[in-house]
Structure formats: C-alpha cells, structure tokens
Subunit: 337 residues, 5 copies
Amino acid sequence: MRFDAASVEEADVSDVSQLAGLAQPGKQVWVDVQGLSDHDAIRAIGTIFGIHQLALSDIVNTGQRPKVEEYGSQLFVVTRMVQILESGNPDWEQVSLVVGPNYVLTFQDRIGDCLDPLRERIRTEGSRIRTSDEGYLSCMMLDAIVDGFFPVLEHFGERLEEIEVELIRQPTPGLLEDIFLVKRDLMSLRRAIWPQREFLTRLLRDGHSMFDEQTAPFLRDVYDHAVHIVDVTETYRELTQSYIDVYLSSIANRTNEVMRVLTVTATIFIPLTFIAGVYGMNFSTAYPTNMPELDWRYGYISFWIICILVVVVMLVLARRLGWLGGSPSAGLRNRDS
Amino acid sequence: MRFDAASVEEADVSDVSQLAGLAQPGKQVWVDVQGLSDHDAIRAIGTIFGIHQLALSDIVNTGQRPKVEEYGSQLFVVTRMVQILESGNPDWEQVSLVVGPNYVLTFQDRIGDCLDPLRERIRTEGSRIRTSDEGYLSCMMLDAIVDGFFPVLEHFGERLEEIEVELIRQPTPGLLEDIFLVKRDLMSLRRAIWPQREFLTRLLRDGHSMFDEQTAPFLRDVYDHAVHIVDVTETYRELTQSYIDVYLSSIANRTNEVMRVLTVTATIFIPLTFIAGVYGMNFSTAYPTNMPELDWRYGYISFWIICILVVVVMLVLARRLGWLGGSPSAGLRNRDS
Amino acid sequence: MRFDAASVEEADVSDVSQLAGLAQPGKQVWVDVQGLSDHDAIRAIGTIFGIHQLALSDIVNTGQRPKVEEYGSQLFVVTRMVQILESGNPDWEQVSLVVGPNYVLTFQDRIGDCLDPLRERIRTEGSRIRTSDEGYLSCMMLDAIVDGFFPVLEHFGERLEEIEVELIRQPTPGLLEDIFLVKRDLMSLRRAIWPQREFLTRLLRDGHSMFDEQTAPFLRDVYDHAVHIVDVTETYRELTQSYIDVYLSSIANRTNEVMRVLTVTATIFIPLTFIAGVYGMNFSTAYPTNMPELDWRYGYISFWIICILVVVVMLVLARRLGWLGGSPSAGLRNRDS
Amino acid sequence: MRFDAASVEEADVSDVSQLAGLAQPGKQVWVDVQGLSDHDAIRAIGTIFGIHQLALSDIVNTGQRPKVEEYGSQLFVVTRMVQILESGNPDWEQVSLVVGPNYVLTFQDRIGDCLDPLRERIRTEGSRIRTSDEGYLSCMMLDAIVDGFFPVLEHFGERLEEIEVELIRQPTPGLLEDIFLVKRDLMSLRRAIWPQREFLTRLLRDGHSMFDEQTAPFLRDVYDHAVHIVDVTETYRELTQSYIDVYLSSIANRTNEVMRVLTVTATIFIPLTFIAGVYGMNFSTAYPTNMPELDWRYGYISFWIICILVVVVMLVLARRLGWLGGSPSAGLRNRDS
Amino acid sequence: MRFDAASVEEADVSDVSQLAGLAQPGKQVWVDVQGLSDHDAIRAIGTIFGIHQLALSDIVNTGQRPKVEEYGSQLFVVTRMVQILESGNPDWEQVSLVVGPNYVLTFQDRIGDCLDPLRERIRTEGSRIRTSDEGYLSCMMLDAIVDGFFPVLEHFGERLEEIEVELIRQPTPGLLEDIFLVKRDLMSLRRAIWPQREFLTRLLRDGHSMFDEQTAPFLRDVYDHAVHIVDVTETYRELTQSYIDVYLSSIANRTNEVMRVLTVTATIFIPLTFIAGVYGMNFSTAYPTNMPELDWRYGYISFWIICILVVVVMLVLARRLGWLGGSPSAGLRNRDS
C-alpha cells in the first residue's frame, strides 16, 4: 500500500489502524487491500473511510455483478478482472474500488495483478498520474482492468483458430468438446464485460463530479475498449456456433462416406454371391433341364465373365450416381492431410 | 403475526377483527397472512387496511405476474418466491405485499418461508430494522424473497454440472430428458424473476415516497441481485442449448461408430464369402476349363492366402480412410470410462 | 342492444334510425352491433355517432391489427377475441369498440361472445358498472376480451402437456405435426395479443381523458393480464421448440437402436456364413493339402465350436462397446411402456 | 401527367420545359415521371422544381433504401413497390415522391402501376382527393404503394399453404428448395417494408407541416398497414423455419423406415443363410460325428421347421421392439395418400 | 499531401516540420499521412495540430473500433476501409480522420486507396468541394469510405449466388466451407459497419458545429448508405444460414438415397441367396423326404421362376413404398445436371 502526490511513499500496512491518519490535503492516497478473508480488518477500513455497509458486504462476497454505485461523495465500483492461467483456463477475480476525495481504495483477493504497471507509472517521476486527482487514478485502474481482457480475448482467438484448423483437417469428438468449453468461457467473459460496459455508459452519460473534463476522454477510452471487447466476444460466440454446424455436417459427411463404401461393396458382391450360390446347388443333373450350365465346357469361364460384367455395370452405375467421387466427397476431412 | 417498534410484540391472530386497532403512531406493524383460502377473512383485512378491490383479487388469485402497483398511499407488490423441494423440483409461491404508512401486510398461501430470518432480525434488540420505517422493512422482505432464488440457481448449477459430467461420460436418452426438464424449470425461473427486475427498475428510476434516501441503496441492492439472477438464468439456458447440441452430436457419433464397424465387417467378409461360394460351385470338372483350381494340389492353401491378402488390403485401406481410428473416434463417450 | 343507467333498458334494434335519439344526458348507452355484412346499416350508425370514415372501414374489414386510435373525443379500439372451437382449433373474431361521451359501440361479426358476463353485470342492480362512465365500461369490455385468452392458453397448456407425455411414451411423426400445429396457433395468438399489449401500454402511459383516476387501476389490470398472456405464449413457443429438439433426437435414437441390432446380427453371422461357405467348397480332397478338415473325425464338431467361439467373442466385444446396452439405450421411448 | 383542382386536366408531356409553368395558385399538380433512363430530362425537372442534387441522384439510382428526407419545404420520399409477376416471382420497383407546395412529383421506371386507382379517384368529380392538399395526395400515394404489398403477402400465404399440404403429403427435396425460395423472397419483402414502417413512425411522431390534422388519421392508417405487413412477414418467416424442421424430420423418418426394412430383412435371412450354408458343407460323412443330420430321414424337414421358427421368433421380437409398426411409423408421409 | 482552396497546391512532405506553417486563413488543408510505422513523425504531427494523446494512440494502434470523438474544436474519427484483394479475401485498413478548423488530417497505413477519386475532384476547377469547408470535405471522405463497402458487398453477393447455384447443382463439403468463410467475412463486415452507422446516427442527431445546414444532407446520405450496408449484410448472413440448412438437408437426402439402393439390393438378393443356399445343402437324398426338389425334372427351372417371382414382388413393394422414386428423390442434386 502506498501514498502518492508530489512525492511517492509506499508502505506495507498490516495493522489497519495505521491507515486512519493517511489522508493529507493535496495528496492522493491509494490503499490496495489484498486478501479479503480478514473480515474484521476490512470492516475497520470501512469505518475509517466511511464505506457504506452494503458496499462492504459486496466487497467481501466476491461473485458480485460488476456495477457502480454512489454513496454520498464516494463512488463504489465492482469489477471483474480476468487472466489466463497456465492451464489455459480463464481465472476470474473481483476487484472493488472505493473512490473518495483524495483517496482510492482497491480490494482484491489475491496478490499480484494487472494493476502492477499502474504502480510503476505512479513511481515514475513526472508521470501524469502523479499530478492528477483520484478520478484520473481510478479511471486508469478501470483501464488496466478492462485492458486485461484483451490478452484473454487473444488467447481465445488463437484457440478458435486452432480449432478451425483442426476442424478442417480432422474433426474428432474431442474437438466438439473444445468448442463447447470455449463457448462456455466466452459466455462467462460476456457476463463479466457486459455490465462493465453498462455502467461505463451510465458514468459517461450522467457524468460524475469526480470525472472532470480532462479525465472524461480517458473514461471514454475505457468505454471504447469495453465495447470493443463485447463486440469481439459476440463475434467469437457466433463463430463457435458456426463451428458446431461445420462439425455436425462433417460427421454427417463421414457417415455418408462410410455408407457409400458399404453400399458399393454390398451391391457389387451380393449379386455375385447369389450367382455363385446358384451353381453350388445340387439339383440332379440327370435331367437335361436341370442346371445344364454345369456341364458346359466353358461354364466356369462364362460364370467369371458374367461376374465381371456385373461388376463393371455396377461400377459404371455407381460412378454415374456419384457414389465413388473421390476427391469431392472426401472433402473437408482430407483437404490438408 | 406480530407488532414491532421499540418493543416487539407478536401475536397469532385468528379473528380478523382484532387487527382493526393494531396501528399505533410511531410503531411499525407487520401482518403476515398465511393461507389464502379464507376469502372472507382476507376481504375483512382488505376493508380494515383499505386495500383496493383489484389488489385483493390479485392476492387471492395466485399465479399473477410479479408487479408493483400504487393505490393512493399504498404500495401493492406481487412477487414469486421459490424453493427447491426435496424431490429436486422448484416450488413456487406467490407472496403479495401491501405497504402502507407504518404497516406492511404480507400474504402467502403456505406456512414457513424465506421470511423467517427477517423475523429473527426483528426480534433482535437494536437491529436496524427495528428503528426503520415500513419502506426499509418491505425492502428487506423483497431482498429475502429475491435472495431465495440463489439457492435454487445453485441447485440448477449443480444439476447442470452433473449433466455435463454425465454427458461427457455416457450420454443416454434419459439425459436429454433431464436437460429438457432443467431448461423448462429455468424458463419458469426467468418468467418469475424478469418482471421482478422490471418493477425494481421502475421503483428505482421513479422513486417512491416510501423509499427515502437511506433505504434507496438497499433497494438498489435488491435490484442488483435480481439482475444477477437474470444473468445467471440466461447463461444457464444457453448452456442447456449447448448441451443439447453436444448430446445430438454424440448420438450422431455413435451412429457413425456402429456404422463403421458394420462397414468394416461387411466389406471384409462379403468378398471372402463370395470366393468361398465360387469354389462351392458344382461345375463339371470333366472339362479342364471348368474350375481347374479345385484339382490343384495347393488350391485350398491358395484360397486361404487370397483370403488373407484380401483382409490385409481391406484393413490397410480402412486404416488409411480412418475407419478404424480407435481412440479419437471413441472420443467423447469413452473419455472418462 | 341496450340502455343502461340508473335503470336498465334493453332493446333489439333492427332499424338503424331508431338509434338516433338514444343518447340522453346522464345515461350510458351501449350499442352492440352483431354482424358486419350490412354495410349500409353500419354506415348509417357511423353517421349517427359521427364515426370517422377510416374507423368505419376498419370495422368492416376484419383482419385488422389490434390498435387504438383517437378521433376527436372518440376513442376507436380494434381488438381480437379468441375462443376454442369444439374441434380444438382457436377461432378468431375482430371486435371494434367506439367509445364516445356516454356511449360505447361494439361491433362484431358473430352472435354470442365473451361479453355476455358483462351484460349480466349491467343488469344487476347496484353493480359498479351501472354508476360508472363509458371509460369504465369500455375498460371492462377490454378486460373481458383479454381474459378470453386465458382459457385458450390453458387449452394449449393442456395440449402441450399431452404432447410431452406422448413424446416421452412413444414419439410418432403425427406428434411432430401436432407440435407444429400448436406452434402455429401460438404464433397467431402472439400476433393478436402483442399489439393489444402495445396499445394498452400507450393508453396507460399517455393517459386519456376517458380513463379517470378511478378507472386507471382497472386499465392497468387489463394491461397486466395482457403482459401475462404474452409471457405465457412466449414460454409455450419456446417449449414447442424444445419438443421438436426432443422429437428429433428420439428419432435419431431409434435409428441408432435399429442400427445397433443390424450391426450386431451382421457382424456375428457374416463371419459364420463365410466359414460355412469355406467348408462347402469342392476342392479335390485327393491331395492331402486340400481341405483336410473335411476328413477329420471331429471336423464338424470343431466347426460348431469355432462358430460358438466367434459368437461369444463378438458378444463380449459388443457388450464392451455398449451396443447391447438394454435399458439405457431403450431410454426415452420405452420408459413408460 | 395531369393537373387536378376543381377541374381536372391531364396531359402527356414529352418536353420537360412544358412543365415549367404548370404550377398555379390553388391548384394541385401531380407530375408522374415514368422511365428514369433520360437523365437530362430528370435533371431538367429537378431544376424546375428545385429538387436537391442528392435527391435527384437517389431518384435515378434505384435500389435505394426506402426513406423520407426533408429539403427545405420539400419532402422527398423513396419507397419500394412490389407486385407478383405471372411467373410467381415478386417484382420490385423504386418509386420516389417529391412533395412540395401544391405539387407532387412521382418517379418510377416502368409504366403502369398501383397508382392507377388513384388516378381514377382524381378524375371522379367530388372525390375528397380533389379538394385536398398535396399532403393528402401523397398520403394516398403511400397508401396505394403499401397496400400493394397485401396481394403479394396473400400470394406467399397461398404458396406456404400449398407447401404445407405438400409437406404433409409427400416431402421431396424440391419442396425444400421451394421453402427456401419463399424464405428469400420474404427476406426481401421485410427489407423493403421495414424502413417504410420506420419512416412512417418518424413522420407520425415528429409530424410535418404538410400533414395537417385532417390528413394525420390517413397517415396513421398507412402506418398501421405497414406494421401489419411487417407482422405477417415475420410470422411467415417463422413458418418457413418450422417447415424446414418438419421437412428435415420427415427425411429422418424416411431413413428410419428404410433402415427398419433393411434390418428386419437382414436379421431374418442372415441366420437362415448361415444354416443353409452349414448343411452345404462337405465334411466327410464317413465319420458318424460329422454332420449326422444330413443322413436323417427328416433332416430336410427339420431344417425348414428350424427356419420357420427363427423367422417367427424374429418377427415377434421385431414387433415387440416396434420395428414393424405399420400405420404410426408411416405417419406424416402417407397420411393423405 | 496537398493544399486546396481557390487554388490547389500539392506537395509530398517527408519532413514533418514543413507542415507547421501550412494553415492559412481562408484555405483548406488536407494532410494525408500514409504509413503509420514512424511513430515519431506522427507524434510530431500531433504536436503541430494539437491532437489529443489518446487520439494519437488510437491512430497508431490500428484495430480500433470505428468511433467519433470530440476533442475541443477537433473532431476525431476512426473508420475502417475495406477492399477485395485479388485473392477474393477482404482487406481491412483503419483510416483515422482529424478534422479541425480549415484542415483535415487522414492517417492510413498503406498507400493507394478509395480516397483517390476525392483527390481528382479537388483538383477539378469549380467543383463544390473547392469552395466548401472542412466539414464538407470530411463528409465526402466518410462517403468515399462507406461507399467502398458496396463493391465488397457486391462481391459477396456474387459469391453467394455462385454458392447457391453450386448448392443446387452438387453440394460438396468444400461448399460448406465456402459458406462458412463467407459468413465469417460477413461477420467482420458487420463488425466494421455497425459502429460506423452508430456514430453517424449520433452525429446526425446531436449535430456538430462543423456540419452546417448545407452539409447535413450529405452526412444523412452517408448515413443512409451505412444503414443500407447493414441491411444487406444482415440479409446475406441470414442467407448463409439458410444455405447451411439446405446443405445439411441435401446430405441427409443423399444418405437416404444411398440407403435406399442398399436396402433394395439387399432385400432382393438376401432371400435369393438363401434359396440358392438351401439347394446347395447336402442332405442325403436317399430318403424321399429329403430335398425331393433336387430330383424333380423342372426343379432348376422352378428355382428360377421362384427367384423371378420374389424379385417382382419385392420391386412392386419397393415401388409402392416409394423407394425407387427416380426423379423426385434424385431431387435437388440432379436437377441441373
């Protein structure tokens, strides 16, 4: 946790009571509370900074819907931050901001986050953030949080591209599951970014005393990013739906292909087997009307000629009806392999 | 039923006329009517508290759409409460609130409900609810009712997770029915919560003399919860749709798999059977042109060699075309088993 | 047709000119025109009550979209009434209302309708409707018309339940047709109720001099019912969509099941037939290398042992791959039978 | 082209310059330009009536989105007119209106159109259109154009009914194509009528000096028709979607049926063929253990008895599993034939 | 880069500092920056023209969502330009406009673009653009950019038509991929044009000092085009969805057709093979009860007669059930070939 004004002071505070005297006129204070399990400490902080009881319960009960609320001169913001874990799954964290005159409080459960670059900028001499008010600071925080969605979107964009390549190369059932998981994650993403877009719209439209004319463009910038994220998320979701269509049709195609092979094989050999069966019959050849073919000199050769004729006719028919069509029917699945 | 002010008084009233003199200046009265079948009693209560005839008929005819209406200084609210029965099905109940100066009337059909914790808080000395007006009290009631949706949502969340696990392990037709039943319940849920969200929006936007500045944040809190429930419900509904897609594709996959086995078996054995049939023919071997193979020393061995060759060629072809692909095609269904 | 005020007078008027002197100060007049084929009569009525030419043409050309229009001091309302015929099909009828100072005109094509209960209430001494103005009367009419949708919705609700039961018991193609017909009827229902909801919203929002403060709650009540009907209709439509999904998947399941039996039968018997074919071959057994099995003492018994082995191996394999799975795969279709 | 006021004058003008002196105080002028290929003439007309350059280019470049624009005292309207060709396809035409003080200009590409009845009404002595201003005249034109959609909708309604009948009688792939073509046409229809509805909404809401109080109801009437057309179009589009569902399911049903026949045939005859194969084997009957059945007196008869037993058992099984189900499974396809 | 006023001056500026003195009263300046990789130069230009830091970062980071922002007297516009590459893929480029008093700056990454015709018009003596202000100039630029979408839409329209023809002639899996790719491109198109439509709506509604009354119609024209593009894009997207439906159903149809051939072949030959098998059995004919047919004089001929009878019965049955139906079942696929 730290102070920042013309000069920067940082301090790790473990005892909440030290925070009481922090505020000084003309200085900005940013208190970053990491870890929300110590309810007493948070209640104490709430008392020091006069945070409303409902805001405090929202801070502690993570899983809130992102929102902005005004309590007197304080602005209370709940947002969701996201990052991609090494396992490839998105990891959600609720970050709550309490913005009051000359101070900004942030609450989050875990240590280490997307606000680090902001800390760097505060430490830098002469950065704009040093000479600005709490509105600009909180605006930068929102910016950092919203911009944290972009790498996640890129991650999903890459996964979708991989899925598309795989889908064209060889669609497996596991792929469908992948599509489904991406879709579910995109649904969470949308659920997190949509309300943030909403409250940014409201902040922009109704204005707030904290965001003066100089800060407004930056807030609008955050809003633009949120809208952009919403757009991309929606597009990705539509893409997953299209992928499912392509997947299902590729399965249907494979069924078709397998079917065709079965049909061709069966329709060629079933008649042949029948003919062979005929000449395996044991009708008494004593009568000349019974199976005279068996006693022909070229009976066996004729049999083979008939068989070959049947096969040729069948193949010609099959080709005509397009059942053998090699490349076009192998299509989607074999294109790259 | 009970009184509450600086001091708390509770009374079970079975004779409606006792309610007439309840109201005292500076004291809050909460009358909780349980059981709606006694129309006369309810009409009597309506007369005592001056409830509009339409409101009374809405109270008695459960199955109303949740709504808020103003009748003079009274606020009439219809809401739906939900809880999960032991059978796992959601159980709906209409709760109507009539909020007037210094009194709140609640009407419900069954005994025992989600307002119990509220009663506890009223009984507690020094709780905020004791010193607040009827606006705060009714707001807390709405909060209790809306929060009653969360365990139900959790229940559905768990059922959906079970379904997902089952879907990946082994999709059965019964599972589809489960998905369908969850979807139907989610549709009811949405139908109940959506109008509550709507009237909360209106109450927040237009304000009401009952909800003073101190109560407004609590009302906003109720609203936030309602919006959250709507969000989650919508996400769950989309999930069920995705589950149906996955289910259908897994059926298609199974058909495919069964098909492939049939095709491979048939295409291997049908030609072999034909060959066997050929040498079962009874062409007269008197002529050297007829079936000389039958008299070859190694005819039988040659036959088996040809058969094995056919099988090998078939298997190589099948493998090339990906019809034998064990693990990838077994995919979704066998992954966990 | 009838008069109603402090006293009630009813009269069947067949000559339009008798209507001219009907209006009396302090009395409400309700003229109910049944049958729209006599264009001249309707034009005459139009002239007597000063109905706008466009309203008249809307009255006569049934099939209008429900709407409300103001012509000077007159309010012109077009609504659609619905009832279930004995055949189970919904029957639509356009009812037009012209509401002016102290009179209400209703126009409908057929005799006998959902306004009968209203007539009863007017005939009843002391009913509120007797002492109220034309706003309240027309409001009650709209209420009667809108409430006429509820039995229709119930009818569809029951049909959908029957369909669901049937769907789980034994899905037949006729069932799909039923679902489709219900869906089409629900689409008509929605097309009729949606614009009524719309114009009720507008009437409520903009108000109208005819609907004074005492009538407003009743109008709001009508509106609530319309919204409720819209909600239920939408839910039912979604249900039909889900039913179609379930139906299609049950067909896919049946195909699967039939497939599985074919596959198991074929994969078991095709190899056996091949083996039998082998020993039906006529290779000359003069050479010891040719089919020595035929001369073995236990050749035939060995053959049967091999066959049984093949069958057992096949069945074990099939069970492993889940192709015989009795109860789970029979699933949806057999559950109840 | 023609004049109309108290008296009617009509003139075919081929030289644009004759139009210059047309306007007379107190007289309405309607110039109907048919054929848009002569750009110079149109530019000349534009100069005479002071039409804005952008409006002129919109007139000439057909394929504009329907819209209304104000240029000073002129109102510029682009609409789309539709009629059904004899081939059954809809035929689109852009009609542009320029409405200024005392004159209305219409521009269309082809001769002969839905404005003919309007011309008749103008020629009729004492018709309202003769004594009204240019607002009423243009309103009547819009009415004629919008009403021109109704026969087209009816045409599509009939085609959809034919498709439905055909769908239930015998679904062929050509039918799907028909459904698809109707859907595409409905999409064009919607694209044409939707913006017209939009600009009518705007005209009604914002009003315009041209449409005085007496004309407003007529404009509202046009608007109502447009909304009605939009409603019906949307319903029809949903219907086509349902038809596609029914079509796909009927194909699935047929596959099922064909499958069932194949399965029953195969599962009955494959075991029989195997048995016949067994007794065709040539095991040496010298040993009593080898195929003793062949030497039984009633061996052959036993064989047939076994065969019949197998068939009976199979048929009973098949009936039990519902594979032979005659009428219910023939269902949708055979109902009418 | 160039000057334009009464006289036209063009200059290629490679040193940014030369831009500093460009602005002259009464003259319009258009600076077209091509290539965005030289961040320093762009920052220098930003300093000269006083561009806001956020605008500058949006200029350099292409991939922004199209938007309009006001910074003091400057209007900052981000748009996306599209053209079809020779490969048939759309090529996107971000174009940023900074419009200030008497100057317009455009930033784009590549050289050569859709603004060329505009340059021509500026060079032309007496063109309207020469005497107008920066509002008109920027409006013309937006017009050029938006109109650049039309050829792209036409391109997609043609591709969709080709796809439709192909779909009816012979649907291959590659076709599905084509549909899918077009759909994806249409999604990008929509994502680019939708926000442009949005900001044009806002510019039109709220107005801006730069766009005076004379320019407004032109801006409205740009807006109309944008709306038109959105409409067409949406229609095309719906078309692709319909194509996918048709494609899937044509696959189902083919499966059906292949199935039918297999079924007919199998159901005809399987019984025949069985009969042939029967007479291939080696029951001892010593007993008269064993296979007496074998010793009949016309046994063999009877066999063939039975076979022919079976085939005829089968064919008649198959025809009755519609399994041979030539033209109707060949349907969609063979219509044109």
